[in-house]
Amino acid sequence: MFPLPSSKVSRRSLIASVAAAAGGLVIGFRFLGSDRRFAESANGVEILNWITIAPDNTITIRIAQTEMGQGAITAMAQLLTEELAADWRNIRTEYISIAKHLAEGRVYGRTETSASAGLRKSENRLRIIGAQIRIMLIRAAAERLGVPESELVAEDSIITHRLTGNKLTYGGLTADVAKVAVPDAKSLELKQPKDWRCIGRSMRRLDIPGSTDGSAIFGFDLQLPGMKYAAIQICPVFGGTLKSYKAGKALSRPGVHQIVEIKGGKAGHVAGMDDALAVIADDYWQALQAVNAISIEWKDSDWVTGDSAAILANLRSGLSAAQPSRILRQEGDVETALSQAARTLEAEYFVPYLEPATMEPMNCTALVTDQHFELWAPTQHPEDAIRVAARVAGLPVKRGELHLVRLGGGFGRRIACDFVSQAIQVAKAMKGVPVKLCWTREDTMRHSFYRQASLSRFRGGIAADGSVLAWEHRITCQQRKEEVAGPFGADTLLYSVPNVKIDFVIRNSFVPAGPMRGVGYTINCFGIQSFIDELAAALSMDTYAFQRSLLDPLTTPSTVPTGESNDGLNPSMRSSRLRTVLDEVAQKANWDTPLGTNRGRGIAAHEQGGAYYAIVAEVTLDGKGWFTIDRIVVAADPGRLANPANARAQIEGSVAYGLTAAMYGEITLHNGGVKQRNFSDYQILRIDEMPEVEIHWVLDRSVWGDVSQSVVSPVQPALTNAIFNAGGPRIRSLPIKNHRIFPRDAKP
C-alpha cells in the first residue's frame, strides 16, 4: 500500500518558486495550480496528480514508465482505467512531469523502466488511484443529485442513477470532485480479476498509430524552435582523454557554429563515459561533417593494449583462482562426490560482450540558461537523468525539467546517462539555445555499456545408476556494481542434485558494462542449459527426459535461493512450475516424433522474474556449414497478462533478440576499443532467418511475471542443443557464426 504523500511544505509556495526559477520559459512546463490534488491543466482538471478530465469527457492518464516498445504506456493506462471505470475509447496518455515528481516527494512512485517490473511495481498504486478517483466521482455525483451513493453506478466514464436513469459524465463533475475527500487507500475494495473488463484484454496500443504514418517523434526526431544540432567524436580508447585538436576548416564550413570539449570520467558525472569533442551546427549532417574533419589527438589510457585475447586470458585465470570472489551456493561436498562419481564431465562455456543495439542511436536534447535547464531525453531512468543533468549544469534539480520522449528501443542501454551529460555540456556552450546531440550508429556501437563477456567451467559427476551426484559451476565475469548477487540464475538451479557448488570469480576489465535485455541470465543460461544437454548425451539419455528427471519437486533442495522469484513459491513449487512448462513444450513440439536426417530438436528451461519458460528449437543443418531454424516452440507461465496480444509480441521479439545474440552477436576489443562499427560487422537477425514461433500459455497464477525479456536467454541453448541433436557440433562459445556447422559424422 502506498500512502499518499502529505505535504508539509506549502504546495503553493513550492510551485511558485519552481515556476519563478524556471523563468517562465520552459516549453511544456505545466503550472499546476494551488491545490496539489486538483489543478487546471491544458487538458482539463487534474485529479490526484495522475489524471486530467476534460469537459468533453476525455481522460488523460499520466504514465510514469517509459515506452520502448514493450507496451508500458497502454498497460499502465489499462491498470488505472479498470478501477476508474473509464471509457477506454476516450483515454489519452501523457508522460508525467519529472520536475513535479521530484518536487512532490516522488509522487509517481517508480519511474525507472527496467527489469520487466513495471506492472509488478506499479499495479497496486495505479489500481488504488483509479479506485479513489472513481469513488470521489461517485460521491460528487451523489452530492449533486441528492441521492445515496449506493444508487449510483460508474461505468465507461458516466455515472448513472439507476432509479431515474439520470446520467452525469465524469467531465461534468470535475468542479464538484474538488470538494470530496480522498478515500483512504486502506478502505478500498478493488475489483476482482474475474470482473476485469480492461486489464487482461488485448487493447490496441495507444502509441502504435504514430509509428505507421511518420508522425511519432522519437528523441532523434525532435525539432524545437531555434534548435541547433550537435555531432560528436568520442575517445576511441576506453579511459583515454582529450589531448588537443586542430579545427582546420571545420569551423568555416557552412552552418557550423562551435566546437565543444566534452569531459568524461568524474567531471562528466557518469561512470564509464569518456572525453569527447562535439560540434554545434545548423543541422545534423553539417555537424557530422565538421566533427569528422577535426584532427583530434587523444591521450591513450593504459588500456590501449587491451584486446579480446587479453580479456579472455584474464577470465581464464579466474577459473583456476584458489579462492572465489563469492560462493553463490554450496551444498554437500562436490569434490568428494566428483572423486567418487562413476563418470565425470567437464566443459567450459564462453559468451562474448554484446551491444544492446537499439534501432535508434543515442541522442539527447538540452537547453541550459544561467537559471534553469531543460532536457528531452529518451531515457529508461528519468530520475538519474535529471540528477546528472543538474550536476553537469551546475544547477539544483528543482531548476530543471525532463521531458520524456519516445525511445527507439531501450534494451537496458538507455539506463545510462552518458548522452545526458554530453548534451548538457554541449548546451552549456550555447546558453539559451536548445541543442540536439545525436550519435551515429558507429558512436552507439563503440561507446556503449556492454553485456559482459564471461567464461564458465562446469563439472558434473554421475553415479553408476545414471543419477547426477554433483554439479559444479564456476563463473568468471566482470562485475557491474548494480549486480549485488553476482551474475543471475546460476544459483537458483532447481535440479535435484545433492552436491552443488556454484561460485563466482570477479575478473574486471576496461570495457564499460551495463544491462542488456535479458540481463545477467543471458550470461549463465547458455552454459547451464547446454551442460545439462551434455550430461544427457553422456548418458545416452533423451535430453527432455533427462532434464525432467532432475526437476523433481519431491527432492528439490529447500536451500535454492529465492532470486527474483516473486510468487512466494518454495523451491519445490518452483521446480514443479518449471517441470510443467518443460512437459508442455515437449508435448506441443511433438518431442518424441523423430525428425529426418540432419534435423534435430533442442530444449531449454528457465526461471526468471517470476515467470517460467521452456523452449524447443527445431533446426535443419544445410550440409554447407549453416542451418535453418524451422520453428521455435515456447511454453510460457508468466502469471497474469495485462495485454495478451502485447505479451505475444514481446515473446516473439525476445526470440528474435536471443537468436541474434546466439547466432551473430559479438563485440571484440582491439587496441583498447571496440572493433565493430555498424550492422555490417555486428550482424542482426533478418526477416529471412526468423522462424515461426508457437506460444503455449500456462496461465493460472496471479503474479505479474516477466514477458519482455525472459525468453532471450533460454532460446539460445535451445538452438545450440538443437544443432547438436541434429548431428552438428557441440557449441560451447557464442556466437554460432564462428563455428562451422557440419554434421559430426560427415566425411571430411
Binding site: G69, R205, D213, D221, Y229, Y284, M359, G408, N678, D688
Partner: protein
Amino acid sequence: MRFEFIVNNTRRSVEALAEEPLLWVLRDKLGLTGTKYGCGVGACGACTVHVDDRPVFSCLVTISAVSGKSVTTIEGLARYGQHPLQRAWIEEQVPQCGYCQSGQIMMAADLLARNPNPSQSEIVAHMVGNICRCGTYLAIQRAIRRAADEISKR
C-alpha cells in the same frame, strides 16, 4: 547550391551541398522526420523512401542525385495514413518501439505495388534489407499478407 525536387507531390527547393544525403535533407531541412536514421551505410533500411517509385535507402542517395525527381516518404504514402499497409499494421499491432517501421512500410508498399499477391517467400525476400531490433518480423509478414488480401478483394 539550390536543388529542386518533388516531395510527396509537392515541389520543394532546398539549399544544400550536393553530397548531402537525401535522408538529412528530408529530416532536418524539410522537417519530414518520419524517415529514420539507423546506420547511415545502407545496412538497416530505416531510411527507405521511394524515388520515382523505386525504393531507395535515402542515407546512400545524395540530394543532387534526386534533383528533378519525385520522392515519396512515409508521410506521403497515402492520404490520412490510410494505405492498406498502414491499416494492416494497426490491425496486426505490428510496431513495438516503432523506429524501423517507416522503412518497413515503405519497403512493403513497393512490394505490393509490384506484386499485389506475393507468396511468403517473396515477402521475405523483398523485406530482407529492413532490420527490426524489437523482432516484429512475424507481425510484419502477417500484416503484409493482410494488406495483400484486402487489395486483392477490391
